[in-house]
């Protein structure tokens, strides 16, 4: 948005044409210095990507209306579609010069994040919703293959990811998963962040991760288990499979929540809606059945890996 604002500022200043650019619902995008709305105005509709806006122009500039409309639309296309094309080329592994990347994506220097958004609803409706969230901000939102990519510089990354997910949930009422990886500072970082996000989605599906917002750096155990060789996985299964199969859904969700809560008994009890003593009783039962006391970090580590190997084999999908 900053790029287009600077352009509009220069355009007005250098041509002496005073105008105002307003969105369909009346929000002012830009207003020339000392522009005054009066009864002698003309209004021109302009396309800014998928959105429509309106130029308010004094009648005396009527002759310039068409060229003004063309210039703004062309610049918008140049700024935004160019950015999208660059990102697309980076992700496709094409050769894009560093200079062009840094010139077009200004926020890359200070570090940016990439969100991968998968939705089970209409992808075009979903991207419109996300674009609306970041309408006034320098954020790239685009469709890449069958998913949505959002790139920008975000302070509270998890909160933004949660907000995107919830906005899709509560406005389009469809399921939505958002994943993100590490901060990117250059084109290689963007490529890496995209692959990390993709991998997070894949791991989430493989290991039935319950969260719909996925942080690549928090999926450590899933990554370890995924990289284990088949023989080693079978060894874990031989030892634990029968025991896990015997547990009922209550015990499985207890294990799941206890691991998710970082072995914190009080947190897990609260999330499971059971008394702490009930949870302790269940943990004792797990110890009795499997020989592993999962309150102990070392034992919990082996147990978690075994549990994920079992999960991978017995994946449930919606």
């Amino acid at each position: 948005m900053k790029d287009i604002m600077n352009f509009l500022q220069d355009l007005s200043k250098n041509t002496g044409i005073k105008f105002r650019l307003i969105t369909e619902d009346g929000a002012i995008i830009f207003s020339s210095e000392s522009f005054i709305e009066n009864s002698d105005m003309i209004y021109i509709s302009v396309n800014m990507g998928s959105e429509k806006a309106r130029i308010h122009l004094e009648k005396k500039f009527k002759e310039c209306a068409s060229i003004l409309k063309y210039t703004i639309e062309d610049k918008y296309r140049d700024i935004y579609l160019k950015k999208e094309r660059i990102i697309s080329d980076i992700l496709d592994g094409k050769d894009v010069s560093d200079e062009m990347v840094h010139k077009s994506i200004a926020f890359l220097d200070s570090g940016c994040n990439l969100f991968l958004v998968k939705t089970k609803g209409n992808i075009h409706e979903a991207i419109d919703v996300i674009k609306e969230i970041y309408r006034k901000y320098d954020v790239i939102t685009m469709i890449y293959h069958d998913d949505i990519i959002v790139i920008g510089s975000f302070d509270e990354i998890k909160e933004h990811a949660k907000a995107i997910k919830e906005t899709i949930n509560s406005n389009l009422f469809c399921k939505c998963y958002v994943s993100y990886g590490n901060v990117a500072h250059n084109k290689y970082g963007i490529e890496r962040a995209f692959h990390e996000s993709q991998q997070s989605m894949m791991l989430s599906e493989k290991f039935s991760v319950r969260e719909e917002v996925l942080d690549y750096n928090k999926l450590l155990f899933e990554k370890i288990v995924y990289s284990l060789d088949t023989k080693l996985k079978q060894e874990f299964l031989n030892k634990f499979e029968a025991k896990f199969n015997d547990f009922d859904s209550e015990m499985i969700s207890t294990i799941d929540e206890f691991i998710n809560c970082g072995l914190n008994t009080s947190d897990a009890a609260r999330k499971l809606y059971v008394h702490r003593n009930t949870l302790i009783y269940r943990l004792d039962k797990i110890k009795k059945e499997t020989g592993f006391d999962i309150r102990n970090f070392r034992e919990a580590t082996v147990f978690t890996i075994s549990f994920l190997v079992w999960r991978e084999k017995n994946k449930q999908t919606n």
Binding site: I133, A163, N171, F173, C174, L272, Y273, Q316
Partner: protein, 369 residues
């Protein structure tokens, strides 16, 4: 505003996991219905099916008399408040609340009116210019609710909206939600695992377990007339005491016996027990902690229902005390006055209110009387 009708609803996941089985429910317009049950009972799944976030495997969903199974979820005219609500960190409270309306291209003036009305209702007018990070947990939750309110939906769906708040805030927000329902006069469907929340908010409560509806009733009826052992144990805090007992008849009078104690049952209860053929059979006796008392006046009133028991632990809660008692193998809790003098290791006399005894079938766990 609208009523809802759920007919023979099922949710089956691949792998043949049935999360919700034959769910039937009529929700009247403006009713406050609460789905309550333990983790994994299917309450959130049912709510998400109403919202359209989960497909309905089988069955029919009507909103305002219209079949909505195949209606796009966003056209169902509902608003949902989630457990893990998320606000847009880069927007002010005002913009957070206005976002859904902007998306629907609502005129600016109308948005402003609705946002300010909702903010007033939620007592967050003074926060409209703040960003989410400058808000407390309770304030954030109010904003999340405000976002749903401004949409003026036919039905509000709330999925454990208070579970991320601390105990004190939950109590406060419970009152806010109750007031909201009264003011908005809209149908509310609310999911919680917390029976106190369910009892205090709901006009109708749906108790669920393992994907099945156990009982649908008013809070009072659920408390006084639970349909089975599960509902009896789930509703009420501390939970109802359950004691393995036997029904005996002596000289025409029916008793419930456990350990070496013998409690006479009222004539009405005895009649039902006899009619149903339970004399001589093992049963489970249920009595709520508040229907046991060591108060001398209460004991004097119920002389034929006195037992002696060991006090194991006492918990003074202020105006009341919980006594954890043991009688042979039977353990039970009594909720008595805070002035009770009972101390751990004491052997005390305590009376049961025979009119409030519940008897359950030991095998089917269904309520006999």
């Amino acid at each position: 505003m609208a009523g809802l009708s759920l007919k023979h609803i099922y949710k089956v996941y691949t792998g043949n996991v049935t999360a919700v089985k034959d769910f039937n429910l009529e929700i009247e317009d403006k009713e406050f219905v609460v789905f309550v049950g333990p983790s994994g009972c299917g309450k959130s799944t049912t709510l998400r099916m109403i919202a359209g976030l989960e497909d309905i495997t089988k069955g029919e969903l009507y909103i305002g008399g219209e079949l909505k199974n195949d209606v796009s979820p966003k056209d169902r005219d509902i608003a949902m408040v989630f457990q893990n609500y998320a606000l847009y960190p880069h927007m002010t409270v005002y913009d957070n609340m206005a976002f859904g309306l902007k998306l629907r291209k609502t005129p600016k003036k109308e948005i402003d009116e609705k946002v300010r009305d909702a903010a007033k209702l939620l007592d967050i007018e003074h926060l409209l210019d703040r960003k989410p990070k400058a808000l407390s947990g309770g304030q954030r939750q109010r904003v999340a609710m405000g976002r749903a309110i401004v949409r003026e939906p036919k039905v509000f769906l709330m999925d454990e909206p208070l579970s991320n708040l601390d105990a004190k805030l939950r109590v406060q927000m419970r009152t806010v939600i109750a007031k909201l329902h009264k003011r908005l006069e809209t149908t509310f469907v609310y999911v919680t695992h917390d029976q106190t929340e369910a009892m205090t908010l709901g006009t109708k409560i749906v108790v669920m377990k393992d994907g099945l509806v156990q009982q649908v009733d008013s809070p009072q009826q659920l408390y006084n007339h639970p349909i089975n052992l599960f509902v009896a144990g789930f509703i009420g805090s501390p939970q109802m005491n359950f004691i393995d007992s036997k029904i005996e008849e002596q000289e025409g009078k029916v008793y419930v016996t456990f350990e070496d104690e013998k409690m006479p049952l009222s004539d009405e209860t005895s009649k039902i027990i006899k009619e149903k053929g339970y004399v001589g059979k093992d049963v489970v006796m249920g009595i709520r902690p508040e229907h046991l008392d060591d108060d001398p006046e209460f004991i004097a009133k119920h002389t034929d229902a006195i037992i002696s028991a060991n006090v194991e632990v006492t918990e003074l809660m202020g105006s009341e005390t919980f006594l954890y008692l043991k009688k042979g193998k039977a353990a039970f809790t009594a909720k008595v006055a805070g002035t009770s003098s009972a101390q751990p290791d004491d052997v005390i006399k305590i009376a049961l209110n025979p009119d409030r005894i519940h008897i359950f079938d030991k095998e089917t766990e269904l309520t006999i009387v």
